[in-house]
């Protein structure tokens, strides 16, 4: 069953079409990466899912209920972490979570139990001071705690890691990974290593459209072939060998990269090396990363 279903939504700001007929769905219990450049429409899409912005066209369903703009009941299933969460800084984390819990309509005892549990999960259990003294990373972690407070079925994070240092990033990703069992996580990012680290599925967003979507393996496979990097022992060999191929790139004095070769083509390349009696230092098959894909998209 899909926790989130988006069908044919469009959104324009003035003449600027930000989202253009976008459709996709996210199955339950997965971590879904939402990849795109700055300005590709990630945040806009998320805000429409939350009912903070009104879609010009199309429908969004969360847990099979339709999202309406304004007063929307679907928000009870969603936990949201904005890119830079802003808190009432005169409150302490515990007080803030209590406020959130009361707004979400939770019971007193439940709020207490859940807050303590989440503050421990996010490593803030000893931070009893007011939020105004918090660092960026601490605020982001409190943001996660706040989003998970009412045990949402769907957790939406808008660039949760982009403003953080490597340690902070790892902490946030570990937290997201640890809640996977109970919650479906959607997070947008332009940091691809984050997606490769924790996501099961991903969608690539370009100019307001979904360009590629599927499991991480699917997406990688969608590209034609892999690149082959060959390092020769002598500079002359490299140039001579490079002359035999069209789609070749000289990556240095003794290094060439053959682009987009399938497995059979790779064997052919090795055969030719043998024929010409060219000794090599190294031959490597470069697996395509999301990075390549992303660069391709942006071109």
């Amino acid at each position: 069953m899909d926790i989130l279903k988006i069908s044919h939504i469009s959104k324009s700001f003035g003449i600027n079409k930000v989202i253009d007929d976008m459709s996709f769905s996210v199955p339950k219990h997965s971590i879904f990466g939402f990849i795109g450049n700055n300005g590709a429409g990630k945040t806009t899409t998320m805000k429409m899912i939350l009912g903070l912005l009104k879609a010009d066209k199309g429908e969004i369903f969360v847990n099979e209920e339709k999202v309406t703009f304004g007063q929307n009941c679907t928000n009870q299933y969603i936990g949201y972490l904005p890119d830079v969460p802003q808190f009432y800084e005169f409150l302490t984390p515990m007080e803030y979570l209590r406020l959130c819990g009361e707004i979400a309509g939770m019971e007193k005892g439940e709020i207490r139990k859940k807050s303590e549990q989440l503050l421990e999960l996010t490593g803030l259990e000893n931070a009893n001071k007011r939020i105004c003294g918090f660092s960026r990373g601490m605020k982001q972690r409190l943001g996660v705690a706040q989003a998970l407070l009412h045990s949402p079925k769907l957790l939406i994070c808008d660039e949760p890691t982009s403003a953080l240092d490597p340690v902070g990033r790892k902490e946030i990703l570990d937290i997201l990974l640890s809640v996977k069992e109970h919650t479906t996580v959607i997070f947008s990012t332009h940091i691809l290593s984050d997606v490769e680290r924790i996501c099961d599925r991903a969608a690539l967003l370009r100019k307001g459209r979904i360009d590629t979507i599927g499991t991480l393996e699917d997406i990688r496979r969608m590209r034609g072939g892999d690149n082959i990097e060959i390092e020769f022992c002598r500079a002359g060999d490299a140039q001579m060998f490079a002359a035999c191929y069209k789609d070749v790139m000289l990556a240095g004095e003794t290094k060439i990269i053959l682009e987009g070769k399938s497995e059979s083509e790779m064997i052919e390349v090795m055969g030719r090396l043998y024929e010409k009696h060219l000794p090599i230092c190294r031959l490597e098959r470069l697996e395509s990363t999301l990075e390549d894909l992303f660069l391709e998209e942006s071109e």
Binding site: Y88, E89, F90, C132
Partner: protein, 66 residues
Amino acid sequence: MNISDILPFLIPLILLEFSLLGYTLWHILTHKNYKHGNRTLWIVITIVGMQFIGPILYFIFGKEEA
């Protein structure tokens, strides 16, 4: 004009103004960042305009929104 005439005004006014001044100075000294201006500026304004206008100016323009 008799001093006993103004005493009922003077005592609460002085108390009020000093508590306002004390509270504002405490607030300025315990906060590092201000919306506008810096610490020295606000201390000067608070003391010069201590008949309530200084503290009020600070709380409107100096104190950070939280």
